[in-house]
């Protein structure tokens, strides 16, 4: 029953993919890619969640073993950085596409196949 919650990251992933495929603007497509990636954050954290447990940060409580999985949080942190940098890089490329081709609509970009 509780597995239904895992479907939500799947939904976000598919929404992002749908956005990229149907996009008429490359900036929009890149943002949709970052949405697809945010599915991985949600998936990782839902996998690591544990009922009635708290964050594995012992600054204001005594150390306990009753915590949610710290490892998925570490992975998600790395993932967030990766996602942000990739988004920035792709947007930089998009700006150049706009400059050199005069459009950011994938339908108007001529094929690279000569």
């Amino acid at each position: 029953m509780s597995q239904f919650l895992y479907l939500i990251p799947g939904w976000i992933l598919l929404a992002g993919v749908y956005g990229i495929v149907t996009s008429r603007n490359l900036v929009h497509a890149v943002v949709c890619l970052s949405v697809a990636q945010s599915a991985t954050y949600v998936l990782l954290l839902t996998i690591g969640y544990q009922r009635k447990a708290t964050a594995p940060v012992f600054s204001d409580i005594k150390p306990t073993r009753n915590v949610v999985d710290p490892l998925v949080q570490a992975m998600t942190l790395t993932d967030i950085v990766v996602g942000a940098t990739v988004t920035a890089l792709l947007l930089a490329l998009t700006v150049q596409v706009a400059k050199r081709r005069g459009t950011v609509d994938p339908d108007d970009l001529r094929s690279l196949e000569p």
């Binding site: 998936l43 990739v86 890089l89 490329l93 094929s111 690279l112 196949e113 000569p114």
Partner: protein, 551 residues
Amino acid sequence: MILQIAVGLPFAVATLLAATGRRLPRIAIDAIATATVATLSVLLGLVLAGGDRTVWLGGWGEGVGISLVADAVATGLALTVTAVALCALVVSWRYFNEVQAIFHTLVLLFTGAMCAFVLTGDLFDAFVFFELMSVVAYALTGYQSEEPDTVHGALNFGVVNSLGAYLTLTGIALVYARTGQLGFVSIGRHLHGHDALVTVSFALICTGFLVKAAAVPFHFWLADAHAVAPTPVCMLFSGVMVELGVYAVARTYLTSFADAIPAEPVRVSLIAFGSAAALLGGVMCVLQRHIKRLLAYSTISHVGLLLVGVGLLHEDALAGAAWYLIGHAGVKAGLFVGAGALLNRFETVDEHDLHGRGRSMYVAGLIFLLGGLGLAGLPPSGTWAGKALIEEAGGHSILALGVTASALTAGAVLRVWLRVFRGAGPPHPGTTQHHDAETEFKLSRLPWTMLAPGVLLVLAGLLLGLLPGVVIGRAVEPFTHLPGPAPAPWTATSIASGVVAVLLAFGVAALGIRGRIPRVDLLHRLHSGHIGDYVAWLVAGVTVFGLLLLA
């Protein structure tokens, strides 16, 4: 300790170059970068000589830490990476209006990332370095950002590869949820029996790697990116980066999922994807007149064969794949040097435009001739030895596939050689496709540094078949787990198939120079450069892969 130094060295020097690049003269930057990669290859050679070992970083043992696994396959592959990177750096000595030291920094990061990717024993860590490799690759592809095709190709590359990587991460999360492990080996120990979760997570993890390996239908980005990336970068892309995808698939299955997922569906699906890539790549290769694009499609075709070699899941075929990989790395990287020479000499890489203009370029012509023969698999090239082993393990259909793919791709390259360097066939005036040279000025004479590495690489590829089989056999032992008899490619059948492929390649070339290069509208339209198409094909490919595995 030597392994840690080897992994850290390119990164440390890259950061220093990035920090001081504004002040250092160009010659110092070249020298530092080249010396670093040379040192790295010496260190890796020492590691290889020292035998297999596993190092836990930071002194954290198994259970929480990250390991570096320097087995023979991984170290050998890292050594191949550094060898190609060294040649690429030498080629780049006279290249580019350098922007600070960014090119060299990125190449060092790229080399380091590829080495770390093959050496790490941890699945999530592999994802991280896969991403580092990809991010650097997007930046290098878009290096000449004032060219429209360049940035467009780099963007397509970036979106498709990133999405693939995110699917890989999704798969990693799923398998982590099941096993609570991240090490390749420890995942393998904790996976028992297969169900939908294990199968789907395997399919998703492999997706990113298959995108990198450009298996059909994940391959669309490759031609777009390779056609526009600077020559030294193309050498690294086609020579080693794409092949790392196949390596990662092999490693994921053989060290982590082999006990959980039965071999048959994996074999069927990998052979299906690989054969599709081998055939489609071969056909598209023949249809190109843009020489770098032509070489890019030949990479798709050959990496498809490599995937078939892995997909057979047979120890001899694995040894063959390893052999094929190093042979292909030499030949293909060398061919890109030749294409770069044409680009910088004539500011175009269009086969029709270049008709007969390469007559005086003996060295570049030699590279194309020898490279074509290498792709066809002339004994004793590494590609021939590897292909022979794969074909022997795979039977008649794989034999036919291998001969067809090499005849088509090599035929296209030999056609270029005949038309450009020998002036064969009728000229086709008109329709010029001008590209800016990658160097500051159009070169009237090419410096030796731009050609010698190409000759060396092609020759290495052509002679690698002479390596004793026992070396390759030992190299893939970590995958096969059995020190069986050394693979022996020297049989009458294999020599015959090699010669037949070469003859067929010349036939394809001869047919090709008689008229214009044909267009097959359906195929050209399929490779549309439209990012939506590429992503749609990507998810369709995942679906097919998953369903094949579940069936």
